[in-house]
Structure formats: structure tokens, C-alpha cells
């Protein structure tokens, strides 16, 4: 055999096994991007027995929403958010931080930065307290500031909560309460901030993070045996948010029958089926039965559904003598007559002066990017909001469906 002079790979070069969370973060970056097979060296697993592994998992000891060191640093560097300032000091050259309102901010992991100091990490009960504060006292509170700012602050601070969870390798039931509230908040935000200018709110970024939180939450339901009192709610929210996704549907179909047959999940499945069968009339009808938050989850797909209805009807009714009453169409679309006419116009569908729609397959055109403003067509959701407060929406565990 040729004497191979190849170097021995020293076992001391073995890195520690990545924490589940770090792997998760890479998970998102890695599997995004069609066809991009990113290069990743397979990690050499540590061969230490399991119990030693537990000793190296960081455990937080910080009992406040913001670690003391960070508060001092940000105060000194004038990097406090106005939600965190001691009232009365906001106009000072160097405002003071309010320890009861300061919240640990998100910071990118960086080489040489130790993110595992126990005094900087918040244990599970503190994290839950932080999330509740962010929802009840910031997101749901009346504010002098526009809600886009409120959102940005809460979004960032929730991201820091997630970071603490990952570093401490939290799993299962500890995470569930935090993740459920986060998902509800982001779904609500996706509706409320729909249509805001890109520099204030980016729906794509909201979507990316929402999908990650949702996916983690559903994994928690799977790995830790229950009871999970809210699982029905979130499985159905996932189906609605990911309308038409074969993958989400397949995942749902593999849930235990008892869970799959709960009313919220069944309804979400029927709505997905209506979408796959391309029956927007049925879909929009079923959507009336959803509660407010469920409608928020679904709402971004509704424009597509309505357009689809116009497309299919343009073909189905295509004839020179076609006269389809605008009012009837409005009812099917669950819009008022003037919005219906506007939607028709955007799709090249003719509405004559007697308020009759003249469908023609040649006429229908996909509306250009940015010509349709989803926000104008929000009535299907806004009607359901009525006197629900933000706090009701994000904290509520039980939402009844309109039957």
C-alpha cells in the first residue's frame, strides 16, 4: 500500500456539537433559496457521555427583563429606546433608563462576543414575563407613537427572547407559551400593518420570522406529549397562513384523528380544499366563519382568491352578451359594489354603465405589481375586529368561531 503521508486529523480539532438552536438558525438560511446547496462540513460529534453535555448548557440567572450590564452600557452610549426611558428624562442629553421598562435588545452573534454569560441570560419564567410585558404594556397600550414603531420595538425584543431561548437550549413546554404569544402577535401585525411603506414595515421579514416561530411551535407540540390546550388553534392558524401549501396539508393530515377533527382544524382544512379545488366562492363563504385572528392569518391570500374568481368567471361567462349583475358579484366577493367595480377595473374586467359585468376571457389581465392595495379590501377582517383589543387578540386562549 502506498505510504500515505496524509496528516492525521487530530481529535482535538473537534468542535462542540452545535446547539439545536444554532442549527435551527442555519436551517432557515440553509434551506432557503431554491437549489442552493450550501457547503457545510458535517460536525464531528463530541464523544462525551450525555451528562457532561448538560453541564455545558448555559443557564440564565438574570431576573430582570434587561441585564444590568446592558442597561448601564446603553444608557452610557445613549442607545435607549424611548419606551425604555425614565419618564421625565427623555429630553435630557443622556436620558436615564427605567429598569422596570428596559428590555434586552437583539444583537447579532459575533466572534469574540460571549453570549453565554449567565448574568446576561434570562431564565424561562423571566422570558415569559418579558413577553407578557411587551404584549400587554407596549403592543396593546395606547401610545403617542405610530404602531409601526411599537411593532419594530416589540419585534426586536421578541427576537432577543428567542435568542435567549436558543442559547439555553430551551425546549418543549417552556417554549410553548412564549412562542404562542409571539405567533399571535406577528399574525396580527401582518394584518394591521399591511400596506404600510416598506421602510416602516417589511411583510417579507415578518413572514420569514413568523414561519420560523410557527415551525418551532409545531415541533414542540410534536416532541412533548401534551396536554397542549392551544394546539388546535395554532394548527389551524398554520393551515390558514400557509393556504394551499401541500406540505402544511400533508403535515396536518398526519396528525391524530382526534385532533384533526376539531372544528377549527376542520374548517381550515375545508378552506384549503376549496382553494385546491379552485372554488373561490366556497372559500370566501367558509372564511366568514373564521374568527378575527384566523382571518388575519388568511387575509394575505384573499386578494389572490378574489382575482382567481374574476379569472375563472372571465372564462366561464365569456360571451358577447354576458351580463352579470355587479351586486351579485359583490356578494360573492364579500365586498361592497364600489370596491368590486374597482377590483374589476384593476383586472381589466369591464363593468358597463348599468352596473353589469361583461366577462370576457380575452379581457382579463393580471393586475400589475402594486396596483392592488390589499388594505382597501380588508373589510372581511375589520368587520370581525369590533371591540377586540390587541390584548384580547394576542393573549386570548379561547376564541369562539362564528358558526
Amino acid at each position: 500500500m502506498n505510504r500515505r503521508r496524509s496528516r492525521r486529523i487530530s481529535h482535538s480539532q473537534r468542535r462542540g456539537a452545535p446547539s439545536e438552536g444554532q442549527w435551527r438558525q442555519r436551517d432557515k438560511e440553509q434551506w432557503q433559496g431554491e437549489g442552493k446547496a450550501q457547503v457545510r462540513q458535517a460536525d464531528e460529534e463530541e464523544q462525551k457521555p450525555r451528562q457532561h453535555e448538560e453541564d455545558t448548557v448555559p443557564k440564565g440567572t438574570c431576573q430582570t427583563m434587561c441585564p444590568a450590564q446592558e442597561l448601564r452600557d446603553r444608557e452610557a452610549q445613549n442607545r435607549l429606546h424611548h419606551f425604555e426611558m425614565l419618564p421625565g428624562t427623555e429630553k435630557d442629553r443622556r436620558p436615564k433608563g427605567d429598569p422596570s421598562r428596559a428590555v434586552k435588545e437583539y444583537s447579532r452573534p459575533a466572534a469574540g462576543k460571549d453570549s453565554t454569560k449567565p448574568s446576561d441570560l434570562r431564565p424561562p419564567p423571566v422570558l415569559l414575563k418579558t413577553v407578557n410585558y411587551l404584549i400587554n404594556d407596549i403592543a396593546a397600550a395606547p401610545s403617542l407613537y405610530p404602531w409601526t414603531e411599537v411593532y419594530t420595538f416589540v419585534f426586536d425584543r421578541l427576537r432577543a427572547v428567542k435568542q435567549d431561548m436558543i442559547i439555553q437550549r430551551m425546549s418543549g413546554l417552556d417554549c410553548v407559551g412564549i412562542l404562542e404569544r409571539t405567533v399571535r402577535f406577528l399574525i396580527y401585525a401582518s394584518y394591521r400593518l399591511c400596506g404600510e411603506p416598506l421602510r416602516l414595515y417589511d411583510p417579507r421579514i415578518n413572514d420569514i420570522h413568523l414561519q420560523e416561530y410557527l415551525s418551532w411551535l409545531l415541533d414542540c407540540y410534536m416532541t412533548k406529549t401534551g396536554p397542549h390546550p392551544n394546539q388546535e388553534e395554532f394548527q389551524s392558524l398554520s393551515l390558514l397562513y400557509n393556504l394551499g401549501s401541500a406540505r402544511t396539508m400533508q403535515h396536518t393530515m398526519q396528525l391524530p384523528l382526534r385532533l384533526r377533527s376539531t372544528p377549527n382544524i376542520k374548517l381550515a382544512l375545508f378552506i384549503n380544499q376549496a382553494f385546491l379545488e379552485r372554488n373561490p366562492v366556497r372559500l370566501l363563504r367558509l372564511a366568514q366563519k373564521l374568527n378575527f385572528l384566523q382571518t388575519c392569518a388568511l387575509h394575505r391570500h384573499l386578494m389572490t382568491c378574489r382575482q382567481d374568481l374574476l379569472l375563472v368567471y372571465s372564462h366561464g361567462y365569456s360571451s358577447r352578451n354576458c351580463r352579470f349583475p355587479l351586486d351579485r358579484l359583490a356578494k360573492l366577493l364579500f365586498l361592497d359594489a364600489s370596491l368590486t367595480a374597482q377590483l374589476c377595473r384593476s383586472c381589466g374586467v369591464e363593468v358597463n354603465k348599468d352596473n353589469q359585468v361583461v366577462f370576457s376571457k380575452a379581457a382579463f389581465t393580471e393586475p400589475g405589481q402594486g396596483t392592488l392595495h390589499c388594505k382597501l379590501y380588508h373589510s372581511i377582517a375589520s368587520e370581525k375586529q369590533r371591540d377586540l383589543t390587541v390584548k384580547n387578540i394576542v393573549q386570548s386562549c379561547v376564541e369562539t368561531n362564528k358558526k
Partner: protein
């Protein structure tokens, strides 16, 4: 094999490597081979012995393999998986250093297969204990397999006979199995692209090609590309060896729904021959336009269809069933101006209660849009006006 000593075993491995005997070396590292049951080889710390006989990185590879046999003998698949990971890593180092030779391909096949199997077993063990994230081990195994795939795919220097590219299809098939299991089908795309652009694609072994086409066909189904799915799955079915009843049946499970969507119903004999009677009621329902029977059939065999991942595709047969039902209405009334009420009546007869006239119009509009009906709906006259010529074109000509 079951009684040789560790020294004898290591000597055999050494010689196999030295003489570039890929198949024999593969056997010595494969869990299909009886040596893994030999207690004399199941050592907790074989590293020293291996270093004495073998050069790096083979010493690491074999040491990890032996540790793996120890773990498997103790039914600890999580440990086994860990060590198999080391086996594959060490193997890859050696493989990469083989310039313009591919004798080690059989070894690669053996160790990667075992890696996937152990990942499966390890996950099952963890699930039972309520630990670990689902799919975590399979995803990691997939990453390793991708590393191997890249080494094979980038072998541009060697001549065809010595090229590592011959390993690509086997690895793709292994990766497909993982991606389908963890429900991440979009990851199949780069593999399919790589194989498609390779000049070897038609020259792999028949067995590999059948497996490949089976998975690519299933992917096409998932993407709703039914013509393509039919092409691939039919190839797989036709070329699958007669004696592999089980495999032929598996292919049929996916080929049948595709063919039904294209309007071709399977015969009773075929279903009986391959023990797929679950499809017989579905078939009957679709051809008769009987929505009631279709819903019953889907419900009755729901567990089977969901497990195979075809439940959602079979739901698409509803559209075909509507088409068949409405065609019956047309044939009965013998006019090309059909009142919409008639369709509603037909649906009620099929016990479809929750559809009203608005939804009937939507279903009809959709059938027209898809090309299943040639005609138009007149709202004013509440009629479906169909073409005098061939208003219900044959299903195979449409999608």
C-alpha cells in the same frame, strides 16, 4: 466471518484496500454482512488496534465502524448513528484523495446506506423517549450524503470508467428517500438538475434508474405536473423487475391516481393482482360521477391514503368526478342549452347538500376554464350553453 479475530479482520481490510477491491472492502464495512455479529470485533476502544494495521484515515474509519457494531449490538442506535457519521466522514477524506479512480464506490454505497438507516432508527428511538427535534438526524445525514454527492459530481478529470460520477444516482436515490421522509421535497431539485445534465444519465444500472424515476415521478406529482409524473412512473413500473411485487405495488400506488386524473381508470384485475382494492371504489365513483361514493371511499381508506401521501391528490379527482357527472346530465337532456338547475338536481341526488346555485356556477366556470367543458354560462338565462361539437373533450386531451 462470524468467528474471525480482530487481527484477521483488520488484515482482510488492509488487503482489500491495498488491492483496491471495492466490493470486498464494502462487505467488510457493511451491516448487511455477518461480520457485524461477531463479538470479537465489537470492541469499545478499537482505535489502537486499527492504528497498528491501517493508515489514516482508514484507521479512523474502521475504528468507528467497529464501535458502531458494538453500539448496534447494544441496540443503541443513537450511538450507532454518531459513529456511522464518523465512518462516512473518514471515508470521504480517503475517497477525495483517490485521484482518477473510483474503486471505492461500493464502499461509499454501503456506508451511506447504513448512515441513512441508522438515522431513521435513531430518530425513532429518540421519539419514543420524547427527546430530540423531529427530522434532526435525517437532515444531518442528508448533509453528509450531499458532501459525498458533491465529491462525485465534481469529478471532471477522470475518464468515464474511473469517474466517481457513477455514484451520483445511488446517492440521489438515498437523498430522495430522506427528503420525502422529512417532507422537504424542494431539496430534490438540485439533484434532479445535476443528474439531468449528466451524460451518464441513461447508463446507470436498471435498478438505480427505476428507483430514480420513481422518486422523480412522485416529485412531479407533488408539483401537479401530471403528464411528467405519468411518464416517469410508467417507466418505473414497466422496467421494475417482475419479481419485485412489493416495489411494483409501491409504484402503482402513485401511478394510479395520476392515470385517473388523466382519465384512465385501472381494471379490476390490475387492482386485485397487486392487492390495491382500496382504489376500486374510488375508480368506480370517479367514472360514474358519483360524488357520494367518492367521499365515502376516500373516508373509508383515509389512513392508507394519507400514509402514502396521496390523499390530497385523490381529492383532485373531485373535479374529474364533477365533470363526469355533468357530462351525464348533458347526455340525458340531449340539448346544448342546459339549465343550471339540472346540475343542482344532479348534485342533490348525489347527496351533496351544501352546494347552492352560486357554487354550481363556480364549479362550472372552473371546468370551462380548465378546458373540461367547451361553452359558456349565461347568467341571464341561468343556462350552461355548450358547444355543439365535442363539448366534453376526452380527459386525456385536456390536462
Amino acid at each position: 466471518m462470524a468467528h474471525i479475530t480482530i487481527n484477521q479482520y483488520l488484515q482482510q481490510v488492509y488487503e482489500a484496500i491495498d488491492n483496491r477491491e471495492g466490493s470486498f472492502c464494502a462487505e467488510l464495512l457493511s451491516f448487511k454482512h455477518p461480520h457485524v455479529a461477531n463479538p470479537r470485533l465489537q470492541l469499545a476502544s478499537p482505535e489502537d488496534k486499527c492504528q497498528q494495521v491501517l493508515e489514516p484515515p482508514y484507521d479512523e474509519m474502521v475504528a468507528a465502524h467497529l464501535r458502531c457494531t458494538y453500539a448496534v449490538a447494544n441496540h443503541d442506535f443513537v450511538e450507532a448513528y454518531k459513529f456511522q457519521t464518523l465512518v462516512v466522514q473518514s471515508f470521504l477524506k480517503a475517497f477525495q484523495s483517490h485521484k482518477e479512480e473510483n474503486w471505492a464506490l461500493p464502499v461509499m454505497f454501503a456506508v451511506t446506506l447504513d448512515l441513512r438507516i441508522f438515522a431513521n432508527n435513531a430518530e425513532q428511538q429518540l421519539q419514543k423517549k420524547g427527546k430530540g427535534q423531529p427530522s434532526e438526524m435525517l437532515e444531518k445525514a442528508a448533509e453528509q450524503l450531499m458532501s459525498c454527492f458533491r465529491v462525485c459530481a465534481s469529478d471532471n478529470r477522470a475518464g468515464i470508467e474511473d469517474s466517481k460520477k457513477w455514484g451520483m444516482m445511488f446517492l440521489s436515490n438515498q437523498l430522495f428517500k430522506i427528503y420525502f421522509k422529512i417532507n422537504k421535497l424542494h431539496l430534490c431539485k438540485p439533484l434532479i438538475r445535476a443528474i439531468d445534465s449528466s451524460n451518464l444519465k441513461n447508463d446507470y444500472s436498471p435498478a438505480q434508474k427505476v428507483t430514480y424515476k420513481y422518486y422523480v415521478g412522485r416529485k412531479a406529482m407533488f408539483d401537479s405536473d401530471f403528464k411528467l409524473a405519468e411518464e416517469f412512473l410508467s417507466y418505473a413500473f414497466d422496467h421494475c423487475h417482475r419479481s419485485s411485487q412489493k416495489n411494483k405495488r409501491m409504484i402503482l400506488i402513485y401511478l394510479l391516481p395520476v392515470k385517473m386524473l388523466l382519465g384512465h381508470m385501472p381494471t379490476h384485475q390490475l387492482l386485485r393482482k397487486y392487492d390495491l382494492m382500496q382504489f376500486s371504489d374510488v375508480t368506480k365513483a370517479v367514472s360514474e360521477g358519483n360524488l357520494l361514493l367518492l367521499n365515502e371511499a376516500l373516508s373509508k381508506h383515509e389512513t392508507f391514503f394519507i400514509r402514502c401521501g396521496i390523499f390530497l391528490i385523490l381529492e383532485k379527482l373531485k373535479i374529474i368526478t364533477y365533470r363526469n357527472l355533468f357530462k351525464k346530465v348533458y347526455l340525458l337532456l340531449r340539448t346544448h342549452q342546459l339549465p343550471l338547475e339540472a346540475f343542482l338536481v344532479a348534485l342533490r341526488m348525489m347527496k351533496v347538500e351544501d352546494v347552492d346555485i352560486d357554487e354550481v356556477q363556480c364549479i362550472l366556470a372552473n371546468l370551462i376554464y380548465m378546458g373540461h367543458i367547451k361553452g359558456y354560462i349565461s347568467h341571464q338565462h341561468q343556462k350552461l350553453v355548450v358547444s355543439k361539437q365535442n363539448p366534453f373533450p376526452p380527459l386525456s386531451s385536456v390536462s
